[in-house]
Every structure is written in C-alpha cells, then in structure tokens.
C-alpha cells in the first residue's frame, strides 16, 4: 500500500504529463465504478496498458474509485433500472439484446449499465478535472504543503525514502 501510494506521488511529480495522468484517472474511473468482472473493463484495461498513460496513477485511481463505486452502487442500479425499463427505450434494448456481445457485457444488468453510463458521461469532465488538478498541484499545492511541519516530518519518514528510491530508479 505504501509502495502504491509512493508510486502515485511519484507519478504526480514525475515527468509524466498531466494529460497522461488525467487519462489514466479517467480510465480508472470506468473500471472502479463499474463491477470489476465485466467485459468492457477488459477493454478499458487493454487501453490503459497500450496507451501511454501513467499506470501507477491508473491502478491507484482504480482502488479509489472502487471504494467510491461501492457507496454509489444503489444509485447506479437505479439509473440502470430506469434506463432498462424505460418504455421509450424498450425497442432499443430489445434490438441490442439480440446481440450476444451485449448480453456477455451484462449491459442488461441494472448495476453494470447504470455504473457504465454514469462513468461514460463523467469521462470527459473527469479527464479535464484531473488534468487541471494535477497542474494545480504541481504549481501551487506542492510548495504550499511543503511549508507544513507534518509534511516535513513525512519527508523524513521511511515512506518518503521509499518514494525517493523509486524516483531515483526512474520507475514508471
């Protein structure tokens, strides 16, 4: 856990561009919010590995969004229920239901569809928000937080040494 957190901090402070970190966070949001063992997550995982995104940030964000997903699952299930049972959309779902791929992706499952739908519409806003926050952190927050004694104490800790060690190795 310490290593993972250290990697996230390293990623945030590395030369990885804010855009790469933001894309990693946005992709991680899809996996984290939707049920983990879903077909679409396989695709998202493949994209995360193949695209040049920061993987440490990606996995750290998956863990964070998974926790958030647990708390929001009832809302996602309600959204999915509304979408799947909406009278105007019934023909649309009926048509898609004939494709095995849709059934395999569990898009006829209320929680999966609801969470996927919410993650998709949040994807672009999350991308820009993450990018903005990373930039803000690098320019202002880092200098500001370093003034605190607790941060200084942390820098003297074993955890920080581990972090520095990772940074020196240039690990991604």
């Amino acid at each position: 856990m310490l290593t993972l957190l250290a990697k996230l901090l390293k990623a945030l402070n590395s030369e990885s561009s804010p855009r790469q970190i933001a894309l990693a966070i946005a992709l991680a949001m899809i996996i984290g919010l939707t049920p983990t063992l879903s077909l679409h997550n396989l695709l998202v995982l493949l994209i995360a590995f193949v695209l040049r995104v920061n993987l440490s940030a990606f996995f750290a964000a998956v863990a964070a969004f998974s926790l958030l997903g647990l708390g929001l699952s009832a809302i996602f299930a309600s959204v999915g229920e509304s979408l799947l049972t909406h009278a105007n959309l019934s023909e649309f779902w009926q048509g898609l239901y004939q494709f095995e791929l849709l059934k395999l992706a569990h898009f006829h499952h209320t929680l999966t569809l609801g969470a996927f739908f919410c993650a998709l519409i949040s994807f672009i806003p999350m991308l820009f928000l993450s990018q903005y926050l990373v930039i803000r952190y690098r320019h202002h927050l880092k200098t500001f937080t370093e003034r605190f004694k607790i941060v200084q104490a942390l820098k003297a800790s074993k955890f920080y040494r581990l972090y520095l060690n990772l940074s020196n190795k240039g690990a991604v």
Partner: protein, 595 residues
C-alpha cells in the same frame, strides 16, 4: 504512433489477466463456499455449514459436500442436510446472466437431523405456519353417558316451557276470572229479575181508568224497559268478555299441553341426542390424522413458497429482494429467441431418506418462472419400500404463469403395512390400528392459494387394540373389532391455510349399526322418564283447568238465562194491550152517548 502507444503494454495486459484468472481459479472454491454459506444463511436466518465445494472447470460443474442448514426454531438440529449435491452449469448462459443447470443431483437428504454443535440463529423463522382452527374431535364424538343430565335437574329447570306454560295458564285464568267477576257483580241478580217480572205482571194486571192513568202506566213501563236495556247491555259485554276469556284460557291450556313435546325437542337438540344416529365416525377416527398429514405438507409448502411465488403481490421477502437488487443490481430480461428464466434446472435427481422409507425425486424444468419457456416443472417421487412394505408413486406438475401458480398431481400406493397407528386417544376411549395393509389413490390440485384434493384408501387385514371406560366406547370397540376391511375417503378443499376436510367411510354404517341399539336404549329410557316428569308437572295445572272450566260454564248458563229473561220482559206488549183496552173503553162510552 509510438508517441501514443506502448506495444509492450500488451504483455503487461496478458500478465495481469493471467494473474487475475489464476487467482480466481485458486480462490473460486473458497469464494463459492463462503458465498453459499452466507447466501443460504441470509435466507434461512441460521448457521449454514458446508464441508467443501469442488469446481470442475471443463465442463463447469459445482459439487457441494455435506451441507447443513440449522433449524432456527431448534438450533441443535438441522432443518435439512445432504451428503452431496452436484450441478453441471452452462458457462455461456452463466456469462449471459442465466443460471442454467443441466443436471442437479442431490444425495443423502435428511430432515431434522441432530447437529454436532448447536448452530447460530440470526433471526426467527420467517415462515409462519397458519393458525389452524380445527374443531376438536372431542366435540364431534357424542359421549352420551357423560352428556346426559339428571332428569330431576331438568324438571327443576325454570326455563322449561312446561313450567312456564303452567305458570302462564294459572295467571291467565286468574286475570280472566277477575274480569268476569267484575262484570258479574254488575249484572241483575235472580232476585232482581224476579222483581222485574213482578213489576211487569202488576202493570199488566192494572185496569186503565183514564188517559192520564194510561199515560202514567206507559211512563212506568218506559222506565222499566230502559232498565232492561241497561241490564242487557251488561249481559252482552259479559258474554263478550266470557268468549274472550275462554279463548285466552284455551290458548294457555293448549300451550301447556304442547310444552312437554317442545321441551323434549329442545333437550334433544341441546344434548345432540338427535345426531347420535348420524355420527360421523370416520371423521372422528381419521380426521385428526388427515389434518396432521396436511399440516406437514402445508409447512413444507410455506417454506418453498417464497421461491415459487408470483411477482405480482410483493411480500416481505420480495421487498428485501428488491432492496438488495438496488445494491447489487439485477438482470432485466427482454424477448429472446430462446428465452430462459433467471435460473433453471433442466433435470434434477434427489434421494431422500426418512423413517418412512427412501424416496427418489426426479424433477425436470425446475424454476420459479415457467412462463419464459412455457414448460411446467414435472415432479415424480418413487419409493419401493414405503414403511418397509409397498410401492408408492407421486406425480405432480407445477406451472407459474406470472398471475398465479397452479399445481396438479396424483399419487398412489399399494399394500403399505401400517402398524400401531393411533386413531383415538382420549380419557374415555383409546383405539389403535394394530396392523393393516393400506392401498390408496388420490388427486390434488392447487390453484391460486386454493387447494382441492380427493383421496381414497382401502384398508384390509385390519386388527385393532383399544380400551374404553364407557359402555358406548366398549360398543364401538366391539363393533370396529369385527371390521377387517373398509374404505376411507378423505377430501380437502378451500384456502390452503384453512381448508375444510371431508372424511367418509363405510365404517360409519358398521359402527353406527353396532352401537345404535345401545344408544337408542339409553335415549329411550331417558326420554320416557323425562316425558313422565313433564306430564306430571302439567297434570296439576290441567286438573285445575277442569274445575275452573266448570265454573266458566256456570257463568255462561247464568248469562244466557238472564239475557233470555230480559229479552222476554222487553218483548212484553203491556203498553199496546193497555192502549187497546183504553180505546175499547172509549168506544163503549161513546157508543152509549150517541146510541
């Protein structure tokens, strides 16, 4: 391209997927074990134990070894346990969101087995066995000897019609007599009538001397006639009163005469003496057993009800299920070329071991949503040695069409030996079927919470044991002791939680005939003594009635005589005679004057 893609990432992807898959493969049996234990415990409300779960990946098959579900009403016992269950799962359908089990086999099923350790109970049983409101068998068995009251007590009972009618007759007579006496006191006495006659006679004998004299006589006569009229009016109203009083008294006398019979009818009904001849002995002897068997079936039904119930009426369990689906989601099914319910067991085989024998269950199309495939669940139960004896078979068909659940079926068994079956065990009578061979056939249907079942049994080579403290009980034992063979018909109909039972048998006639003589003798003696007591009670009143009737007759004669006398007096033509006499006298005088 290299600016955006890192092709070595593919290797990382494969490695990650492989790692996750390997992890799942290793942990799957443990995950399945924990999941099943928690899931079943959530439903049953008590501890669930599984020894281990084996998963065969190709083809996918799940095997559960030694499952025990604690009985939450009796935690030291399992409500159900089995040795092994294996299910072949269709992987493709599972990935599509359907649990399709091609074949399910469960062996070594046992009910109510003692546990090694007392199981934890998380909540009370959520199944409530409906309150059975059955009439006590004791109420149906007319135990005549203990029911018959003391005749002396009955005769002293002031609510008896005989007593009431006698009192009413006495009161009526007194009231009517008072009214008549009042009128009689106002009537002209015999002496007064004689005086009237004397006055009339005197008036008729007096000679008319002049017109003034005539007018005076006429005036006296008018006064007398007015008196007669007044008296006649009194006589008339006295006659009317007499008629009314006679009517009232006659009515009261008739009531007294019919009271004993009415009392007897009422007593017969009160002590059910009229029902003895038609006593439903089959119901008394076998009704309780039929109810017990039905209750066992009902308790099983109530346990499986939440699984097969239609979705139309939302129960508490369904509300919980809905709440849970809000957290975990649910699969929404659309029209499909090959529709499937959320779960389906195409073929299932169970083996159930009970003290009554070993039963083999074969089921097909086991699901709770039959409307998807339009195929019913077919159930066949076979046993070769029911109660260590004969063969038995049950076939049933269950179909849930969203709106309601229908279940139909039939069963039969042959030559099943029955030993020491208690038929009746009360303080006054104990009766058991020591041994018999029973064959039976029956049908049942269950539609929308209503059950209807007809069952026929044929009992042969029957022998009995029993004892009774009453003579009627002994008569019953003697009668049934001779019955080696009889048939029994048991019908159940009505709402599943409060059905009515119909039990009939040719045993009724046999027992009825045998004990009818005994019962009739007792009732006849009772009736004779009671009737005699009742008649004695009214005889005094009726005797009084004869005396008083004579008195009334005398009054009637008196009134008639008075009326006749007054009538005669009123008809007397004294005035006319005197007028004529005066005219004749005048004519004579005028004749002399004018020559």
């Amino acid at each position: 391209m290299a600016k955006y893609f890192r092709w070595q990432g593919l290797l990382g992807f494969v490695a990650t997927i492989t790692f996750i898959t390997a992890l799942l493969l290793i942990l799957a049996p443990s995950i399945a074990k924990v999941g099943l234990e928690k899931g079943i415990a959530w439903y049953s409300g008590a501890e669930v134990n599984i020894d281990d779960v084996e998963i065969n990946w190709s083809p996918l098959a799940l095997t559960i070894n030694h499952l025990q579900i604690t009985d939450n009403e009796n935690p030291s016992h399992n409500v159900i346990a089995f040795d092994q269950a294996s299910a072949g799962i269709d992987v493709a359908q599972y990935l599509f969101g359907h649990l399709l089990i091609e074949e399910l086999t469960i062996t070594g099923i046992r009910f109510d087995q003692e546990r090694d350790n007392v199981g934890d109970v998380y909540r009370d049983a959520n199944t409530s066995i409906a309150d059975e409101t059955v009439r006590s068998v004791e109420q149906q068995m007319p135990s005549i000897e203990s029911q018959l009251p003391e005749i002396k007590d009955i005769l002293n009972d002031s609510s008896l019609l005989t007593v009431k009618a006698s009192q009413q007759l006495e009161l009526t007579y007194q009231q009517e007599k008072q009214k008549l006496n009042l009128l009689k006191s106002q009537l002209p006495s015999k002496q007064a009538l004689q005086e009237y006659q004397a006055q009339v006679k005197q008036l008729s004998k007096s000679k008319v001397k002049s017109v003034d004299h005539f007018n005076r006589l006429k005036q006296e006569l008018e006064v007398l006639k007015k008196q007669f009229k007044r008296d006649r009016k009194l006589v008339k109203s006295a006659k009317l009163q007499l008629k009314e009083s006679k009517g009232n008294i006659t009515k009261a006398v008739n009531a007294v005469k019919s009271a004993p019979q009415q009392d007897w009818q009422q007593l017969k009904s009160k002590y059910q003496l009229d029902k003895v001849d038609n006593a439903d002995f089959a119901h008394i002897l076998f009704g309780e057993n039929a109810r017990q068997y039905y209750q066992q079936a009902e308790s099983i039904y109530l346990r499986i009800k939440p699984f097969i119930e239609s979705n139309n009426s939302e129960t508490t369990a369904e509300k919980e299920q809905r709440q849970q689906s809000l957290a975990t989601g649910r699969f929404v099914q659309f029209i499909d070329e090959n529709p499937l319910p959320p779960w389906l067991v195409k073929q299932a085989y169970f083996q159930l071991t009970l003290p009554q024998g070993s039963f083999e269950f074969q089921l097909s199309e086991l699901t709770n949503e039959h409307w998807h495939r339009n195929k019913p669940t077919l159930i066949t139960v076979n046993t070769a040695k029911l109660l260590s004896g004969g063969d038995a078979k049950l076939s049933a068909r269950v179909f849930n069409n969203i709106e309601n659940i229908t279940a139909q079926g039939d069963w039969q068994f042959m030559q099943v030996p029955v030993t020491d079956a208690k038929l009746r065990d009360t303080d006054s009578l104990s009766l058991a079927m020591a041994s018999a061979n029973v064959a039976g056939i029956g049908q049942f249907s269950f539609i929308d919470s209503k059950i209807e079942s007809a069952n026929e049994f044929n009992i042969s080579n029957a022998s009995y044991t029993g004892a009774s403290t009453s003579s009627i009980g002994r008569a019953l034992l003697a009668a049934i002791g001779d019955v080696e063979q009889f048939s029994l018909s048991v019908g159940v109909a009505g709402q599943i939680n409060s059905p009515s039972y119909r039990v009939k048998s040719d045993l009724d006639n046999v027992i009825s005939k045998a004990i009818a003589v005994q019962l009739q003798q007792k009732i006849a003696t009772f009736q004779r003594k009671l009737q005699s007591g009742l008649n004695q009670k009214i005889s005094q009143t009726l005797q009084m009635d004869k005396t008083e009737a004579a008195e009334f007759a005398d009054t009637e004669t008196l009134l008639n005589d008075t009326d006749k006398a007054l009538k005669k007096l009123m008809k007397s033509k004294i005035a006319d005679n005197k007028k004529k006499e005066l005219e004749d006298k005048l004519k004579k005088k005028l004749g002399k004057l004018f020559g």
